[in-house]
Every structure is written in structure tokens, then in C-alpha cells.
């Protein structure tokens, strides 16, 4: 007890106050750096498991195969790890239900764009993911109908993730869902 009191009396409170100030800086730095450094982020988990640009139909979540934490076993997912460095990426998808959705993420897990079947009010979607000027996008050969309805998304970073979610209303919808997935694509646009 005597030793503890002596130790406390010997403390220089300036050092403790300075420690608290540095603690604040450590706190802010940690929070701001985590999206870029987290080894458990979705990008880190998917980077080596998925190729660049083709749309990949993910296996249904199960105890054996689950690429990301808390994935839904009753949602079917398709993923495109896009890279627009060499030009725009074009995505052709079908949203068969109001609850189906397409979401785009930066490598730091930031969802910067999302659209659902409820928003879209139509089934077929053509999406152009780009970092280039509008004039470059107009050079992409598209049918007149597809061009007029195409959604152009300007990405904040050249690389990112596109995730298509298709909740299953029941297993009876599974063949229709899988068939729709096989008709979808993601890849560099022809110019």
C-alpha cells in the first residue's frame, strides 16, 4: 500500500495528460485507417477468390462455403470484381423481383451506389461502370433501347465490387433465379 501511494505521488501528471492527448490521436488514426488496413475486410477476403471483371455466381452460403461473414443462406449472390483502368465495364443484369438489388462498393467496403428492382420498375438492366469522360461512354456499341435505358455509374476508384443480391421467396424460385443469373454478364465494354 505504502509502495503504491509512493508510486502515485511520483507520477508526473504532465506525462499522463500527454498520454491522453496521444491516445486521442491514436483513436482518430485507427478509426480513419481501418477501412484501408482491415485484414478482415470483404475486399481482402474476395481479392484472391474472385477473378477481375467476369460476373461470378457465388455458391449458396453454407457452413462449408461462406465467402463473407453473415451471408444469407436464402439469398443468391453474384459478384463482379471490376476494374475500369482499361476502360468502362458493362454489366447486363436482370432484376426479377422488387427485392433484388445491385450494389457497388469501393475496395474499402463503401457502398456508393445501389439500385433495387423496386427502384427500377423493369427487369433488364444495362449498367456502365466508368471513370472516363461521358464522350468515351457514348462510343460503347449498344442497341438504341439499351443505350437509352443504360445506367452510367461514375466510380470513385478504378477497382471495386459489384454485388447482385437475389432473395429467394421459396425454393420454387431457385430454377428461375439460377437461369436469370446465367444470362447476366460483367466485362470490359467493346469500343
Amino acid at each position: 500500500m505504502q509502495i503504491t501511494m509512493t508510486w502515485f505521488r511520483g507520477l508526473n501528471w504532465f506525462w499522463i495528460a500527454a498520454g491522453l492527448v496521444l491516445g486521442g490521436i491514436v483513436h482518430i488514426t485507427t478509426i480513419l485507417a481501418l477501412p484501408y488496413l482491415a485484414s478482415s475486410s470483404a475486399w481482402t477476403r474476395l481479392e484472391n477468390a474472385t477473378p477481375i471483371n467476369p460476373l461470378q455466381i457465388l455458391p449458396p452460403a453454407s457452413p462449408e462455403v461462406q465467402l463473407l461473414p453473415l451471408m444469407a443462406p436464402d439469398v443468391r449472390y453474384a459478384l463482379c470484381r471490376y476494374n475500369v483502368t482499361d476502360g468502362p465495364v458493362i454489366v447486363r443484369a436482370r432484376l426479377l423481383d422488387r427485392s433484388w438489388s445491385i450494389a457497388l462498393y469501393t475496395p474499402h467496403s463503401l457502398n456508393f451506389y445501389a439500385i433495387s428492382g423496386a427502384d427500377l420498375q423493369r427487369v433488364n438492366v444495362t449498367m456502365i461502370i466508368t471513370q472516363t469522360a461521358e464522350s468515351e461512354v457514348t462510343k460503347i456499341p449498344l442497341s438504341k433501347g439499351a443505350r437509352s435505358s443504360a445506367i452510367t455509374v461514375a466510380v470513385p476508384e478504378p477497382e471495386g465490387l459489384l454485388l447482385l443480391r437475389a432473395p429467394l421467396r421459396s425454393t420454387a424460385y431457385l430454377p428461375m433465379t439460377e437461369s436469370a443469373f446465367t444470362e447476366m454478364s460483367c466485362g470490359l465494354a467493346e469500343r
Binding site: 508510486w7 511520483g10 507520477l11 508526473n12 506525462w15 499522463i16 500527454a18 498520454g19 491522453l20 496521444l22 491516445g23 486521442g24 490521436i25 491514436v26 483513436h27 488514426t29 485507427t30 478509426i31 480513419l32 481501418l34 477501412p35 484501408y36 482491415a38 478482415s40 475486410s41 470483404a42 477476403r45 452460403a61 453454407s62 457452413p63 461462406q66 463473407l68 461473414p69 453473415l70 444469407a72 443462406p73 436464402d74 439469398v75 422488387r98 427485392s99 438489388s101 450494389a103 462498393y105 474499402h108 467496403s109 463503401l110 457502398n111 456508393f112 451506389y113 445501389a114 433495387s116 423496386a118 427502384d119 465490387l161 454485388l163 443480391r165 432473395p167 429467394l168 421467396r169 421459396s170
Partner: protein
């Protein structure tokens, strides 16, 4: 006290307060970043393009890819209605009528967010697959052993996480501090423990 001892105190205080508070803010959330509805926690800005730094850090660390909150809402429970940790050695009933959404599903995971293997190959109940009584109320029983009705098997050595995802939810202002303004989320009641 020597310079070295003071320096050790300085570094210790800095790391403990800096890293400890950052861990707490991300692991538990606060009223600034999360809303608590009974045992359910929702990160209100998860999936928003203009999410605050704490939510961004939480999302990145979680390994999840949440979608913007107008299109989806995610509720996570690690405790029951009484605030006790969900334990795989206990049985729970999850009772409710909602939430109101185009589609929702409730799944059970282990502490790492992984689905738990079970002989029934059953991992989830959705708004389409759940059995309800005449009043529209459903009752899900979480248990290791099979139970009649909506049985959701749990098979973990330790923690259990319940995750409720809603797509195209009825938009409710969860910041309004009134029961009527809260989404209709199910209750989680402990039945018994082994």
C-alpha cells in the same frame, strides 16, 4: 520517478485509451452510430455513401457488404430480451409478427458470423418460409435438439448471433423515441439452459 517510468506510463495511457476506445466504438457502437431496439442493434448509417468514420470502420472490419439503408436494413442480436448473451447451450424462442418489409430473413450464426452445421441443413427462416398462427404471429425456437414448428438449430461451442435482414423495409424513422415509430422486431426470450 525516472524518465523511463514516466515514458512507459505515457505510452501505456496513449495505447490503452486510443486503441481501447476505438475498439469499443467499433465493437459495441454508441448512440451516435447505432440504434437499439430491444435486443437488436442496427448501425443506422451502414451502407450509406456518407457514413460516419466509425460506421465505415465497423463495416470494413466486419467483412460485410451492407446495402444502403433505404433498400435494406440489418439487425443484429447477441443478447436476449434480458440482456444475457445468446448461448448455444440455451434454448430461445423468437416471437413476432414483423418486421414489415418486402422480404426478410432471420438466420443464426456462430460468434464469427459463420453458419453452424446441423443435421437438418436448416439455417434460416424468411418471411416466405415461416409458419405463422391464425393471428399472423410466428414463433421460432433456437435449440440444439429438434423442436416442432419453426426450429432453428444452433450448434456452436460458444456464442450465437442472430441476424435479421430486411429488404425494401417499411421506412421508419428509428431516431424518433416512440414505440410506435420503431420497427416491429421479434422478441428473444430464453426458455432453458442445459
Amino acid at each position: 520517478m525516472t524518465f523511463l517510468a514516466n515514458f512507459i506510463v505515457f505510452v501505456s495511457v496513449a495505447l490503452l485509451t486510443g486503441l481501447g476506445s476505438a475498439w469499443y466504438m467499433i465493437e459495441h457502437g454508441t448512440r451516435l452510430t447505432t440504434d437499439r431496439i430491444g435486443p437488436w442493434i442496427v448501425w443506422t448509417a451502414a451502407g450509406h455513401a456518407d457514413a460516419d468514420p466509425y460506421t465505415r470502420a465497423y463495416v470494413a472490419r466486419s467483412g460485410r457488404l451492407p446495402i444502403t439503408s433505404s433498400g435494406a436494413r440489418y439487425y443484429l442480436a447477441t443478447v436476449d430480451d434480458s440482456g444475457r448473451k445468446l448461448d448455444a447451450d440455451c434454448e430461445y424462442e423468437v416471437i413476432g409478427r414483423g418486421p414489415t418489409a418486402e422480404w426478410w430473413s432471420l438466420a443464426a450464426y456462430d460468434g464469427e458470423g459463420q453458419l453452424m452445421p446441423n443435421p437438418a441443413d436448416r439455417y434460416t427462416f424468411s418471411s416466405a418460409s415461416i409458419l405463422r398462427d391464425e393471428s399472423g404471429t410466428y414463433r421460432i425456437v433456437l435449440a440444439r435438439q429438434a423442436r416442432p414448428g419453426n426450429w432453428l438449430p444452433v450448434n456452436s461451442d460458444y456464442r450465437v448471433i442472430l441476424f435479421l435482414r430486411t429488404y425494401q423495409p417499411e421506412l421508419i424513422d428509428e431516431d424518433v423515441d416512440s414505440p410506435a415509430a420503431k420497427p416491429d422486431l421479434p422478441r428473444i426470450r430464453r426458455l432453458q439452459c442445459r
